[in-house]
């Protein structure tokens, strides 16, 4: 039955905004908004302007679970972890920063805090924001009893060890230092660059810094999980590096797998334009 009560359009548009306002009106929370009594800018008084929703309900003390929104539909709120929670029929929807109805469309990708009534296990309030909400329990840690799933959980052999939540290991910024030894016939005044597939193989994508007579280096901060192909050049495709034999070489590959720092030492044997 609950599924029939709440049907929200997540399509970009006005429907979700109207949905939020409707619920605010239902809860009577709009009446708690501060009222300006003069044309001068009022000085907010803490005792007079509590967040309307907090003042109206004891939700702040209820279990709060935060995560990225995937969908609100058919009586469920579904997070990007795949966890679906059931919605109460009178669920309120507010902006987490202002405590009032969101002025933006409610759509997948937003961040949300779900406030759950312990007695029913239903979500009574949803608070939305454009950034992750740290002041709540991650949705990955929600008690399984609150998650709706028709099938009983089955282990996934692909996940070893099992990953129950996204970890930041692959997202960490890694300092990558690439140092390269150039051939002895490299013209002294030459600059050395790195061409990458991520730059459309622009021959001057990354400029390297001369370290000594034959070494160049570059230091960059790259995100863990980055995987790209690259070749060294002297600034044009006619001066790209080659194999020792002078044959065209396959692109080098660099995968950033996490960690604090990564040192890459490379050697260029030949340039395409030099004998």
């Amino acid at each position: 039955m609950i599924a029939l009560v709440i049907i929200i359009s997540l399509v970009v548009g006005q429907a979700s905004h109207a949905y939020g306002q409707t619920n605010l009106a239902t809860n009577g929370q709009a009446m708690l908004a501060p009222i300006q009594t003069s044309s001068a800018t009022p000085i907010p008084q803490a005792s007079q302007t509590p967040p309307p929703d907090v003042a109206a309900t004891p939700a702040a003390t209820l279990p709060r679970y935060s995560g990225q929104l995937l969908d609100i539909e058919r009586g469920y709120v579904v997070f990007s972890t795949g966890d679906a929670l059931r919605l109460a029929s009178d669920v309120s929807i507010v902006d987490d920063d202002t405590g009032v109805a969101p002025t933006y469309a409610i759509e997948p990708g937003l961040y949300a805090i779900a406030i759950v009534a312990p007695d029913t296990g239903l979500v009574t309030s949803l608070r939305f924001a454009h950034s992750p909400r740290p002041n709540a329990t991650p949705i990955a840690d929600v008690p399984r009893a609150l998650v709706s799933a028709a099938s009983s959980p089955q282990p996934n052999p692909d996940l070893a060890p099992p990953k129950t939540r996204y970890t930041s290991k692959l997202s960490a910024s890694v300092q990558v230092t690439i140092t390269v030894l150039v051939p002895p016939d490299t013209p002294f005044g030459a600059d050395v660059y790195i061409a990458t597939d991520t730059s459309g193989w622009n021959a001057q994508a990354i400029k390297m810094q001369r370290v000594d007579g034959r070494h160049f280096r570059v230091v960059s901060q790259l995100t863990g999980g980055t995987d790209f192909h690259y070749l060294f050049t002297r600034g044009s495709w006619a001066t790209v590096e080659r194999e020792r034999s002078g044959l065209q070489r396959q692109a080098r590959e660099l995968a950033i797998e996490g960690g604090d720092a990564l040192e890459v030492a490379a050697t260029i044997y030949r340039w395409a334009d030099l004998p």
């Binding site: 972890t81 990708g109 099938s151 002895p184 597939d197 730059s199 000594d212």
Partner: protein, 570 residues
């Protein structure tokens, strides 16, 4: 009881556990993923296509997914659809909250809401028997956050080949990450890991904006809007086509500029004959013609190389045919050079830490009208050369020391003998974590037994490497003086500062002593030079490189004619 347990174990062992199939990424081919929505946007810094509003995604196998929002991660090779999702497959239609397909792993995750919330996993493209309740990766449906990010491309449809390209139509491109263009009919974004799509046959230009308009798995067509501050008409456009074949083969054709009378038609080709041999061709045609009318001037050359790797060396056969004119008017002068070149690999010099490299070659030059305008129609050359390099030694006060030496002698059948040497010694020091200073002494010598007998050298097998190469691609050799012996001593102090990846500054001071003649306006290079180069980020993906040199009033010259300005993408 034991038999029952054994039977159960045997049945378990026999049951198909497809989920345990290879979890290493698999090749996914070139079948297209098609996305259609009210708004399709590409965010280049995260390599993600995002579709919003009435999203319709057609998977490569024909299944269709509809929803409110979709993201296609070109690096993860994953599509995720969220919000009012309907999944249409040959096995049936399903409604749910989210769908995610990791193509490289052949795992599709689905969150049905009808008849009730659940988790389904489709394995290996089988839509008929989802594994229900199977645990999913925690980030299977994670959606990238673009709340405060501007897209690079905006359109309403996208066709995506996960290994090579994404084609948007129509497409508005954000120039300099700021100014969107009017909607173009189509735009192809190339992200192939195959570097042969990057082979660039277009020379010159300080700014190049490619507009790729046609693409398949193995071809790419693009117009290039270009700017070259050194040309009389600075703005022009060019055309370039790439075709790829085999594991490493390519052919690149270009017309540059296409919008000016003086045109350059280029063809670059390469194919790997075997794992140890390859064939390359480089042909250029230079014409002066209005549009495609009859040219008033037409010259060109073609160079073909065959390279064979040996055990610790390689040989290259190099043939060059030049055409002084293709027109009926003028002398049909077609010089031809055929040479064979041998290059040894770098080898350690005993246990000294030094390395050396040997080179040699011989060539035959034929010009029925006389080589380099002289009367001699045929000439032979052979040469022998060597490089010697020290390792980098650590000296006192953190100073590093290294040196290289190059020697070469070329014998010509004129007769003549040309000898060149280059000696480089450098001292370097890291001043701060971001500043390096290098002091270098560079000495180059050239001597010939007969100074006046020099000739054009269209390929390197003759042993006379062009320095510098001529701008039209035809290298012209000439000893840098009219007297038999020349010596150039350079004293260089260079420094570079890279406080962050977004900013680099380098500067160099150079003093040159050149003999026998170093007089402004007569011969020899400027005695003193300074140059500076600054590279800095102007947008999230674009860098500007500004450089300029100063000559300390050498014959009235103070600055280089122009600032060198280059804008490039990273």
């Amino acid at each position: 009881m034991k038999r029952a347990i054994a039977l159960a174990a045997a049945l378990a062992a026999m049951s198909p556990i497809s989920a345990r199939s290879d979890q290493a990424p698999q090749a996914i081919g070139h079948a297209l993923l098609r996305v259609r929505a009210a708004q399709v946007r590409y965010f280049s810094d995260q390599a993600v296509v995002q579709a919003r509003g009435g999203v319709d995604v057609q998977l490569p196998d024909g299944a269709e997914v509809r929803g409110d929002l979709a993201t296609v991660d070109l690096r993860l090779r994953r599509v995720a659809v969220a919000g009012h999702v309907t999944l249409h497959t040959p096995a049936g239609d399903f409604a749910g909250a989210g769908f995610a397909d990791f193509f490289a792993f052949r795992r599709a995750y689905f969150l049905p809401l009808v008849p009730s919330a659940d988790r389904w996993t489709f394995l290996n493209g089988d839509w008929s028997a989802p594994e229900k309740g199977r645990e999913m990766p925690g980030d299977a449906f994670a959606l990238p956050d673009f709340h405060e990010t501007q897209p690079y491309i905006e359109g309403t449809t996208a066709a995506i080949d996960f290994t090579t390209f994404a084609r948007f139509a129509p497409a508005s491109i954000r120039v300099f990450d700021a100014v969107p263009t009017p909607a173009l009919p189509v735009y192809v974004y190339n992200f192939s890991a195959n570097q042969n799509f990057g082979v660039n046959s277009l020379s010159g230009a300080s700014f190049d904006a490619p507009y790729a308009f046609a693409r398949s798995a193995d071809s790419l067509d693009a117009l290039h809007l270009r700017y070259d501050q050194t040309l009389p008409v600075k703005e022009f456009w060019s055309f370039e086509h790439h075709s790829l074949f085999g594991d490493a083969g390519y052919a690149v054709f270009s017309l540059n500029p296409a919008s000016q009378a003086a045109k350059q038609w280029n063809l670059l080709g390469y194919d790997q004959v075997s794992s140890r041999s390859g064939f390359a061709v480089n042909a250029q045609l230079f014409t002066v013609q209005s549009g495609l009318s009859e040219p008033t001037s037409s010259t060109g050359f073609a160079d073909a190389q065959f390279t064979q790797a040996l055990e610790q060396s390689a040989v290259r056969l190099d043939a060059t045919q030049s055409y002084d004119t293709f027109l009926a008017t003028g002398a049909p002068d077609h010089p031809f050079v055929l040479g064979l070149q041998w290059t040894g690999y770098d080898q350690p010099l005993f246990r000294s830490g030094f390395t050396y490299r040997l080179q040699s070659g011989f060539a035959h030059i034929h010009d029925a009208f006389g080589i380099a305008g002289q009367t001699l129609p045929d000439a032979w050359s052979h040469y022998l050369g060597a490089y010697l390099a020290t390792p980098a030694y650590q000296g006192p006060a953190g100073i590093g020391l290294d040196a290289t030496a190059q020697m070469q002698r070329t014998w010509l059948s004129f007769p003549n003998t040309v000898s060149t040497t280059t000696l480089t010694a450098s001292a370097s020091r890291q001043v701060t974590p971001h500043i390096y200073v290098v002091a270098t002494q560079l000495t180059q010598t050239a001597s010939a037994t007969t100074a006046s007998l020099t000739f054009a050298s269209p390929n390197t097998a003759t042993g006379l490497s062009p320095a510098p190469p001529s701008p039209n691609g035809l290298p012209v050799y000439g000893i840098a003086t009219v007297v038999p012996d020349a010596v150039s001593r350079n004293y260089i102090l260079s420094g570079s500062w890279q406080p962050s990846p977004a900013f680099q500054f380098s500067a160099a001071a150079l003093k040159t002593d050149y003999s026998p003649i170093q007089v402004p306006g007569v011969a020899g290079p400027p005695r003193y030079q300074m140059s500076g180069d600054m590279r800095f980020r102007i947008t999230r993906t674009l860098f500007a490189d500004v450089s300029r040199g100063y000559f300390f009033n050498w014959g009235g010259r103070l600055w280089t004619p122009q600032f060198g300005i280059q804008v490039s993408a990273q």
